[in-house]
Symmetry: C2
Subunit: 481 residues, 2 copies
């Protein structure tokens, strides 16, 4: 069962690591900076993959696979790209017992190796668009690691698209950041702010980076997904030109976009509690655990529990029974709370007599008495929907309560210790850097959502809280993971 | 459209490469020995993954993910293992801009990194069995590469299980090789011989390797999947002991098993023809292409074609229409034959008048007139089933016709140029090595299937065709990929 989990109030970072390890989601592997994603954690990733993959295909994308290795000369072709990524790469120098003539980098991201192939695939506008996604592992050498959030190797998907004009590629960038927003909010029950990164925070090699930013329970920000408008940067680096409809040559327009196993960390930090994991039903492989209370005619209780599980499974609600006698009901309650199973059903001999059972919600720990009849699958479905929605609402309320609008740098410094801060910024990298140096807070996002902009009057001009210079709009500052 | 594909009779190897590239299944990447798996090829892998993953889960397995990197000292812990794998590894010597204290090998297979974790997870018989599968990329440095069949990096799944006793682990080994056999025969329509490898051909570090062997259209053998009984070898190497039910300490019993993107190569070489890919319907993402013949009232024909596709899709038969006017019907016929779409439906204005359409089978190129009415989905389903079965039957017949029983080494040398040879072997590594040196044929499998054993009287004692010494049974020799 659970090792003791440190409480969030006592030590939030320790709580996170304790939870990840106790719930057997992941653990540090015996190789520096890497993790084992254990079956309980990988099951969450599989649910995420299934939902995202479906959304990618519905928006016209197909999957493919490109090499793990990138020749050093490729990484070097895009100047900002190599500057951003080379220092954090793992480098293969030997293969098949011999020293290699050219070093191979383990992909930290695949723009360069993919564009070396796109160059061969694209001659004419008829070859466009290319809408490819790849599910893969990537490696970025990390000095300080944290399970799921920052490890040397992680799993992700990376979309890489090629277009005939900048309007189409910009449409694609927005389409995909909105797919991520939908996924975060509807599946992860995690509200996010969609918008742009500053030049300083954007992807190395991009013209613009769009992102979704979420708030964790310690009120810090976490970047949950990015979609990059790469302009013609990579096409130029790889000399990838195509014949337009008008018969002239132009460089191809590109995007890339990705989310990673980091989302599992975000999911945990957004929703879980001191008892363990809290999973939104849509990402739970097992939605209901049935725990028979073994008194009186034990065999009859177990039989009824099994029948109930079968009935729920038949109705598309993945359920299972734990009827082991080795562990007490109390032990089982704690264990499945730790594992984040959204609903626990308790079923004893007297409940069966009375024609009822008890359903306990994992998110609120609230218990309800349910009629043990043919309406049960519907009742359970409704509770699952309620859990999914109320987890989102609770997280949204938390974010609202921890979002502060400030007018001065003094107010800013206080507020930024407590959550997201909305403030005027003069638009200069200089101010951004100074604020970061002094407070560790960064500009998380220049919001581009109408609702959010209206709520916080983001586009109202004003005075930069730091420099006192004119500011065209407000931005969102926070300390971040 | 298709570049010219060399015919099989002219040059089988060139036919294969031409097909893989023309059908856009894969291509050599710009990094030594690696391939791009293009969307058409990756779609086959996704179908394979879905079927296999379901079968793994139905047999009680869960997925997880372990690190790409293996410290040099881990690889070295199992003596046969390092001897077998170290020479073909890619080695990371630098990370984050610094030279590493210990070299990291890119996993060629994951036994060692996984057992270093299992050691931490297993204390008692209550922690067993562990039934984990991993979908991953692996790297084995190859001097001579061939798309899908042998590349430096490839994709695969690797199961790694841990058991409390040798009976259970042996059961697991057999369960999984039989899962592979079922998959090969029922999904890939590719008959395989299930059995054991000789000591010389077994996995480096295994007690026993079980395999499935298939015959390609050039009558060469291809190993399509393996399941290894690892005994206590890796548990001993990693000092992984557990407390048994009887309260004593014992080393854990292990298995591992895997199939890879090599199966895509096998699928192509088992079934495809000079026009391109031939896909068994169960592995085809798109089972039916509808080609409207655009004469007369073109809009009406296209409308009817779209309605038909919708009807088929509604009935679970993935179908699409190519109504582009840019390409002729003849061009489209060739293109979708190249892509291996199992059924082509041709639909012209006169067909619609007559209430019929023409269905062309990709495997036999046979055309049938079908009634264009509400029975069409059923008619198409039946043809798809027929294709699936007849592809298997045809491949089985080919294998039977190219399997030879011989009594002498003279006969052997002639027969082994034409297919599988069933012959008595004295059981010594010496004879095996000499035959290999003289003929390039290897012992592919010691059959363990009752039907196959009965058919070829495999367990009949006799005289070794090479040494003339007594031989307990016959084995299957062939030249192999
Ligand atoms: Zn608070
Ligand atoms: Zn022949």
């Amino acid at each position: 069962m659970a090792d003791k989990i440190t409480s969030r109030s006592e030590d939030y970072s320790q709580w996170y690591i304790d939870l990840v390890r106790s719930a057997k989601l992941a653990d540090y592997a015996d190789v520096r900076g890497c993790m084992d994603i254990r079956p309980n954690g990988y099951a969450i990733w599989e649910k995420m993959q299934a939902a995202l993959d479906r959304m990618f295909k519905e928006t016209g994308h197909v999957n493919a696979y490109f090499p793990l290795f990138i020749p050093e000369s490729f990484i070097a072709k895009e100047a900002e790209h190599i500057e951003g990524f080379a220092p954090e790469c793992a480098v293969v120098t030997h293969g098949g017992g011999e020293e290699l003539a050219e070093k191979l980098y383990i992909r930290p991201t695949s723009e360069t190796i993919i564009w070396s192939s796109y160059k061969k695939w694209i001659q004419s506008y008829r070859d466009l668009p290319i809408l490819i996604n790849q599910w893969a592992n990537v490696v970025r050498w990390e000095m300080r690691t944290r399970l799921f959030l920052r490890t040397t190797e992680f799993l992700w998907q990376e979309g890489h698209t090629a277009h005939a004009n900048p309007e189409e590629s910009q449409e694609e960038v927005l389409r995909m950041i909105n797919v991520y927003k939908t996924f975060a909010e509807e599946y992860m029950a995690m509200p996010v702010i969609m918008g742009k990164k500053t030049d300083n925070e954007k992807f190395a090699g991009a013209v613009d980076t769009w992102c979704i930013e979420a708030m964790m329970q310690d009120s810090k920000a976490l970047q949950a997904g990015t979609s990059h408008n790469l302009g013609q940067n990579f096409a130029k680096a790889f000399d990838c030109q195509f014949q337009t409809k008008d018969g002239v040559l132009d460089y191809v327009w590109a995007t890339s976009w990705g989310v990673s196993t980091r989302l599992i960390g975000a999911l945990i930090m957004a929703h879980s509690d001191d008892r363990g994991l809290v999973l939104p039903p849509k990402l739970a492989t097992r939605q209901v655990v049935i725990i028979p209370i073994l008194r009186g005619d034990k065999a009859a209780v177990i039989e009824r529990a099994n029948a109930l599980a079968q009935e729920l499974n038949k109705n598309g609600i993945p359920s299972f029974v734990d009827s082991s006698e080795q562990n007490s009901p109390g032990w089982k309650f704690a264990e499945y709370e730790l594992q984040g199973i959204p609903i626990r059903i308790e079923l004893g001999p007297r409940d069966i007599e009375k024609g009822i059972c008890i359903a306990a919600r994992r998110d609120t720990l609230e218990k309800t008495e349910l009629a043990l009849d043919e309406t049960l699958p519907d009742q359970i479905s409704e509770i699952l929907n309620t859990i999914q929605e109320s987890m989102f609402e609770r997280a949204l309320q938390f974010r609202t309560e921890h979002t502060f609008e400030v007018q001065s740098y003094e107010e800013f410094k206080v507020a930024v210790e407590k959550g997201f801060v909305i403030a005027h910024w003069d638009g200069t990298a200089e101010t951004e850097a100074k604020i970061k140096a002094e407070t560790k807070a960064t500009i998380r996002v220049l919001p581009e959502e109408a609702d959010y902009i209206a709520q916080y009057r983001i586009d109202e001009p004003g005075t930069c809280i730091y420099s006192g210079k004119p500011a065209a709009r407000k931005v969102v500052f926070a300390k971040a993971y």
